[in-house]
């Protein structure tokens, strides 16, 4: 599995967690930091 695919799956999981009304963990916020960096740098 490529890194992009891994990121895509991770983000889907995070979105589902939020949609179900759960709070994000510290680890998930760190992951979103990482994915945002990738997004900003194209």
């Amino acid at each position: 599995m490529s890194i992009q695919e891994e990121i895509h799956i991770t983000l889907k999981e995070i979105q589902k967690k939020l949609a179900d009304g759960h709070n994000l963990s510290e680890t998930e916020l760190e992951t979103l930091f990482l994915t945002s960096l990738i997004e900003e740098e194209g």
Partner: protein
């Protein structure tokens, strides 16, 4: 005595980092005992580490690719976790995110600090901004409203710095070599002159100032452009007076060169901010999306030239092939001002009128810069009637200084043309409408509070009041579209309300109540300003009628 620890997050470009440095230096000067840390990207910070180290006690630098050393997501997450742990070990008391990007918001949320300023995300992935000046940046500066403050001063205000503490003058300035540094490049086509204008300017500068050497500086990616520039027939005879340093010098080298130069000429760019750091007199040509009052280099030795075109400044996303603002600034204006600066003349209105023609001056504004009580300000030397944007900027300067810093400042009533007086008069309607809306906000917030506190709660009425407040937000949004210069005010209070303190409905409603009171009060202040400004035109009209 306990040493307080402050961490600044600045993940954006080198120019922003230099401006952050300039604000942080003032924070450190006012609070010498604090420990100051900085989180930044290596690719931007490494080139100016020699400057950053003079202010910051700790530097936490990263590049995204560093996290992916093992080329998989799991180990990248571990690397991020380790990086954040290193920062958190220091136990910072306050983090200040000056980046206003998505990544920086998440980073801020992962750092442990008692107090956090700037953009962050909570565990529900909602944007949170706790401090008022960051709310101002998010609602005004990020949203293309005309910000009346220098970005360095805004950073300073966010940091809570009270005094304007700047570098001492260079006592050895007269010993500097006869060098002029030129940076004819910018990050976007809209922000920079075409090469033909630059070649005309350099030719004229060389002719007017025969003892000077001209150093063109730039990054490796500017090399193809500088080749085309140097290929201009006008520049072929300059020989060793024209030195091409593009792609050949580090930022530290450019800094040293600027320290030994008498003048810098360029656009709004990292190099212009570096010139400010070296106290080198500068002529800045502001074009396209540049907002001079906000991004002019932080120095009182700057002459900033900006076009008078109605479309200036434009927005990044707006396409423009004709670039009409570029034609408004002639190279002769730049060369004349440059010659004046080099012989020690004071560049003021008289200088411009005596040395330039109306043809040169009609389509542009010439600003000089000076440090005032609240920071750096640009003052127009060309003495045109203020545009509508400028009039509102002057009002907002007073309003925000009062509301966000508790500082009372007065301004001279702007001189306005008859056309602008009519436009201002139209704005009174918008302001009155906003005032009514905010008063409705007060009414419905009060209704929620009193209802929630009563013995018999009427849930339907509470629900109705909440819906009404939603409608007020929508109507405010429509108002700012009809009256775009009210956008700054409307957007600020929208963001402020979105970050209302409180966990319960009553607490949030009390915060909203204060928000609406403040918003209504500021609209009355704006109304008073407009009324005073258009008063002379009303009096003239009445006198004419009497005659």
């Amino acid at each position: 005595m306990k040493r307080h620890k402050v961490l600044i997050i600045q993940l954006t470009r080198i120019g922003d980092l230099i401006q952050t440095l300039q604000a942080a230096r003032q924070l450190k000067a006012e609070n010498p005992n604090i420990l100051l840390g900085l989180v930044a990207r290596k690719k931007f910070a490494n080139g100016i580490d020699f400057l950053l180290e003079t202010v910051f006690d700790e530097l936490y630098l990263f590049d995204t690719k560093d996290f992916f050393i093992k080329k998989d997501l799991t180990s990248a997450k571990n690397e991020v976790h380790s990086f954040i742990n290193i920062i958190n070990k220091e136990k910072y008391d306050l983090t200040i995110n000056l980046s206003f990007t998505k990544a920086s918001a998440y980073l801020s949320s992962t750092l442990n600090a008692s107090v956090k300023f700037g953009l962050q995300r909570n565990s529900r992935n909602e944007i949170v901004i706790n401090d008022k000046w960051s709310q101002f940046v998010y609602s005004n500066t990020m949203n293309h409203a005309h910000t009346p403050f220098s970005l360095v001063d805004i950073y300073r205000y966010i940091m809570g710095v009270k005094e304007t503490l700047v570098l001492d003058p260079d006592p050895d300035f007269d010993k500097r070599a006869q060098n002029i540094v030129i940076h004819p490049f910018a990050s976007q086509k809209k922000k920079k002159w075409g090469l033909s204008k630059w070649s005309e300017l350099i030719y004229k500068l060389a002719k007017d100032n025969p003892h000077y050497h001209f150093h063109i500086v730039g990054a490796p990616e500017d090399v193809p452009e500088v080749k085309r520039l140097l290929g201009s027939p006008a520049l072929l005879n300059l020989g060793n007076r024209l030195i091409n340093a593009v792609g050949k010098s580090s930022i530290a080298d450019v800094y040293q060169l600027l320290c030994n130069s008498k003048l810098f000429i360029g656009h709004d760019s990292m190099v212009s901010h570096l010139a400010a750091e070296t106290l080198t007199p500068s002529i800045i040509i502001s074009l396209g999306v540049v907002r001079p009052h906000e991004t002019s280099p932080y120095s009182d030795k700057v002459i900033n030239l900006a076009p008078r075109n109605n479309c200036f400044p434009c927005q990044i996303e707006k396409a423009c092939d004709l670039l009409p603002c570029h034609g408004s600034i002639n190279y002769q204006v730049v060369s004349t001002i440059a010659k004046g600066l080099l012989v020690g003349e004071v560049i003021d209105h008289s200088f411009l009128v005596n040395n330039l023609t109306p043809f040169h001056l009609n389509n542009l504004k010439v600003y000089n810069s000076s440090y005032q009580e609240d920071g750096l300000e640009l003052f127009e030397l060309t003495e045109n009637y203020a545009s509508l944007d400028e009039i509102f900027m002057s009002f907002y300067k007073v309003i925000w200084q009062y509301y966000l810093r508790g500082v009372e400042r007065s301004i001279e009533t702007p001189k306005v043309s008859k056309e602008n007086a009519i436009s201002l008069y139209e704005y009174i309607k918008g302001i009155n409408y906003l005032y009514e809306l905010y008063n409705f906000g007060i009414k419905y917030s009060n209704s929620i509070i009193s209802n929630s506190e009563s013995a018999k709660i009427d849930f339907k009425e509470i629900q109705d009041s909440i819906s009404r407040i939603g409608e007020i937000d929508q109507l405010c949004s429509i108002t700012k579209k009809t009256y775009p210069l009210l956008k700054g005010l409307v957007d600020y209070f929208y963001v402020n309300k979105a970050n209302a303190q409180g966990e319960s409905l009553i607490e949030i409603s009390r915060s909203n109540l204060l928000n609406y009171y403040d918003a209504a009060n500021l609209t009355t202040v704006l109304y008073d300003f407009i009324e005073k400004t258009i008063q002379p035109h009303i009096e003239t009209q009445n006198t004419s009628k009497e005659v």
